[in-house]
């Protein structure tokens, strides 16, 4: 381990061979880009799946040309079967939650910018860093492989509730090999993210440049630091849970499977397991996971917003404090996923109050963002638009948390589309807006080229309006009692089908808009306007190095930090309204 860390400091010449440079690279920047690429592949896969699901929900017996090529049993005559719908749903959720919302804002941007922003040449353990990516990549391949093996991918949802996920193929298609691959993929993914945290935390604590006190770290660095602390504990719990699940599935143990289960008239050979045990272990991971997805977004949005408001936030410390308390509380609230699961009704109350209380720090963060807009010199560009969109989405999704935090109301809304609308807005869409903001903001630094602003703005408008058109109606459906995870709606849900069709159309359009982003990304990468060192006139360290940064980030020099990260809207000798973190000059008294 030791020589790895010195490697990070006493830099050798950058690698020359293609393999070492781009594939098995030790450079945190390349690894960051690899993570970003993985996230990109995953997000478009997940989006394609959601398209198929939406089409099916809108027009249940619609034949989707060529679908049988994807799965002959899943779509005989191109019409999606119930099991295949559930399989697509499970894969959509798993891919999005793990390989997009966890990978992109945390692992991708974090790897690329954390060391630069704290003034280090690299992560302390480049080899572990490289492993972290490739392990995650293997996890992705394992998950995707389940599409083509056995009777298809798992269908028990991203929560993989036992016993459905533990009894094997007798419970239906997708419960055989697919379910094992699902659990294996998650366990592997956990290893990858634990290795990641192994680098993030020491980088933040020990590799800071001279003068870079903790109180001078950019807010997004705090976001990543807090996230890696959460990832550390959360993934360390999911992994053993997955291992036990696999054992129940393949080795006939009975951790989660109780006695006397009769499936298809066959008495199952298990005894005495506890199904609630899985739910407790899973949600102890699952709820922090939600914040693992969103906290980096909060950091990135703060960073982007400040740069474009040309002023610091009302308070730097309060934001950090709130992020910390959210992270801390997130471990005490997980039970609100289980209000009606059959756990002791008293514990429902115990979990309800922290859940309600967690809205306080969240609200304060939003208030500080909005309040800081007051009297600012807001610059409107793709990045800042997405940052503002993040706030709007976060609020929209957050308020529905008031409902779901209360067990009594959960009686009505549990497992309805209200829940789906809630977590899509607050966790998925908001987090993805954070990713977009970060992309438009940092792309020049990552690739040395500017992105096309016009395309960026078109992309924003379509996505922003589209997202509302898709996810607001989910709440209405939920209020009307529309159950989630149904592949077709009959009985009292039949009148709601038109709403589903509206959502489907909106989803198709919004999804299509993402190809504008993809085009913008690829085109700008190669033919975009060459980016200057500091296009947005920012103060933090990543903007003191060339775009893209050299192999050792600072070209052999040691940055020295003289200021907190957000010296904006100040008077300076040079006439600029900001002071770089590493510049000795001080602001003229106004």
């Amino acid at each position: 381990m030791h020589d790895m860390s010195t490697h990070a400091l006493h830099h050798h010449a950058p690698p020359t061979g293609f393999i070492r440079k781009y594939i098995f690279s030790l450079d945190h920047k390349v690894i960051g880009k690899q993570y970003y690429g993985l996230g990109l592949v995953a997000v478009f896969t997940g989006m394609a799946l959601s398209w198929l699901m939406r089409l099916h929900l809108g027009w249940t017996n619609l034949a989707i040309p060529g679908l049988h090529l994807l799965s002959s049993t899943g779509a005989p005559g191109n019409v999606m079967t119930p099991e295949y719908y559930l399989q697509l749903m499970t894969m959509h959720a798993t891919i999005m939650v793990f390989f997009v919302l966890t990978v992109a804002p945390f692992a991708a941007f974090g790897n690329f910018f954390l060391p630069i922003q704290v003034g280090a040449e690299d992560m302390p353990f480049p080899h572990i860093n490289m492993m972290s990516f490739w392990v995650t990549f293997v996890a992705f391949c394992v998950l995707i492989s389940s599409f083509f093996l056995g009777d298809g991918p798992a269908l028990s949802g991203w929560t993989g509730y036992a016993p459905l996920s533990a009894v094997g193929s007798v419970a239906g298609p997708g419960q055989g090999l697919g379910q094992v691959l699902w659990a294996a993929s998650l366990a592997i993914f956990c290893v990858g993210q634990l290795l990641g945290s192994l680098n993030f935390i020491p980088t933040t604590l020990d590799l800071r440049a001279k003068g870079m006190s903790l109180a001078r770290l950019p807010l997004n660095v705090w976001g990543w630091f807090i996230t890696s602390c959460m990832a550390l504990t959360a993934f360390a719990v999911l992994m053993p849970a997955c291992i036990l699940l696999i054992l129940d599935h393949v080795a006939g143990t009975s951790f989660f499977v109780p006695s006397n289960l009769v499936i298809n008239d066959q008495l199952q050979p298990h005894s005495g397991g506890s199904t609630l045990l899985w739910q407790h272990l899973f949600w102890f991971f699952g709820h922090p996971e939600v914040y693992i997805a969103i906290v980096p977004g909060m950091g990135i949005v703060s960073h982007v917003l400040i740069a474009n408001m040309r002023r610091p936030l009302l308070s730097y410390k309060v934001i950090i404090g709130c992020m910390f308390s959210i992270a801390f509380l997130s471990y005490m609230v997980y039970g609100h996923h289980m209000f009606v699961s059959g756990m002791n009704p008293f514990s429902a109350l115990v979990f309800s109050f922290p859940t309600l209380i967690i809205t306080i720090p969240a609200t304060i963060i939003v208030l500080i963002w909005i309040g800081s807009l007051y009297g600012s010199r807001l610059r409107i560009n793709s990045a800042s638009l997405f940052a503002l969109g993040f706030i709007s989405m976060f609020v929209a999704g957050g308020v529905s948390g008031f409902f779901l935090a209360q067990p009594s109301i959960d009686i009505v809304l549990h497992a309805t589309y209200f829940v789906v609308g809630h977590f899509h807005l607050v966790m998925a869409v908001a987090a993805i807006f954070g990713i977009f903001a970060g992309t438009y903001f940092w792309f020049p630094k990552m690739f040395g080229r500017m992105m096309n602003e016009t395309l960026g703005k078109i992309h924003f408008w379509l996505t922003f309006v589209g997202a509302y058109c898709i996810f607001m109606p989910f709440h209405y459906l939920g209020l009307a009692g529309n159950i989630r995870r149904y592949q077709a709606f009959s009985g009292y849900m039949e009148p709601l089908i038109p709403v589903h069709r509206f959502i489907t159309v909106a989803a198709l359009i919004t999804g299509a808009a993402q190809f504008i982003f993809l085009y913008n990304l690829v085109h700008s990468r190669f033919w975009g306007k060459v980016a200057p060192e500091n296009p947005w006139e920012c103060t933090s360290l990543e903007w003191t190095v060339p775009s893209p940064p050299p192999f050792d980030n600072f070209g052999g020099r040691h940055p020295v930090v003289y200021h907190d990260p957000y010296q904006y809207g100040v008077q300076t000798e040079s006439g600029a309204d900001f002071i770089m973190q590493d510049s000795p000059e001080t602001a003229k008294p106004a």
Partner: protein, 250 residues
């Protein structure tokens, strides 16, 4: 890779078909001289057991299909004359390999109609292709549960309304494979997979096993509730041999 698998399986199926055809021709040559058959009736001795009615209220579509013909279990279906329906008869002993290995021509059809299986019991030869179709406007899943020891592989696939037929076959002898629909738990039937010629009783309990070369055999009758009965018969060229069975009501 999926494509490849498909291509491979197609090739295998084609090969299989050729082999079967060959076997067919050969055996026909062998027994073309004298083609015997076994006929008879299967009756139930005693009062027919009460067949519970089926409450399909879970799926309104199914209810509608049975508005004026209430559905009942079909475990034991007896005609007014006491004839027992859905009994499968096959030759359990005495068949020359050439005959027992030959696969009957044609694809027996297993239909899902009014959330019931028609026929309730479907007999077929080992490796004979059978067809599962749906006439219903509601989705069914077909889930046969063979005994794992026989080497038959269980499967479980859904058929949305208007989906193309599923063409399948069993690779090992098995009497009988229960098949059910999980979406409509009352739906159940049987696949009876045998070697050589077979017959199934019609509504008044009579059956015919054709394509039997002269010789003496053991004929077995299988009924899902009453199990099996055996009978020795001798088939001579020309005149059909007769074998009647009587199951005793429990």
């Amino acid at each position: 890779m999926k494509k490849n698998r498909k291509r491979v399986s197609v090739v295998i199926l084609a090969g299989l078909a050729l082999v079967c055809l060959g076997a067919l021709l050969m055996s026909q040559k062998a027994s073309a001289a004298a083609e015997g058959k076994i006929t008879g009736t299967v009756k139930l001795n005693g009062a027919a057991p009460h067949m519970k009615g089926i409450d399909m209220s879970k799926d309104p579509y199914c209810v509608k299909q049975h508005e004026n013909s209430p559905a009942h279990l079909e475990n034991v279906v007896v005609s007014s004359g006491g004839g027992l329906e859905n009994v499968v008869l096959y030759i359990s002993q005495g068949l020359p390999p050439a005959v027992s290995n030959q696969v009957a021509s044609g694809q027996p059809v297993f239909d899902q109609k009014g959330c019931m299986y028609t026929p309730h019991v479907l007999a077929m030869d080992v490796n004979q292709q059978y067809k599962v179709i749906t006439s219903d406007q509601t989705t069914h899943n077909i889930h046969p549960l063979p005994n794992p020891l026989t080497g038959n592989i269980p499967w479980n696939e859904s058929q949305p309304p208007g989906a193309p037929p599923l063409i399948k076959s069993w690779k090992a002898e098995e009497v009988a494979i229960p098949v059910k629909c999980n979406i409509h738990p009352w739906m159940h039937g049987y696949f009876v997979v045998v070697k050589g010629p077979y017959g199934t009783t019609d509504s008044d309990g009579s059956y015919t096993i054709s394509g039997v070369p002269p010789g003496s055999y053991t004929v077995t009758a299988w009924q899902e509730e009453y199990g099996t009965q055996n009978q020795k018969v001798t088939v001579t060229a020309g005149a059909p041999a007769k074998a009647d069975f009587t199951f005793k009501a429990k």
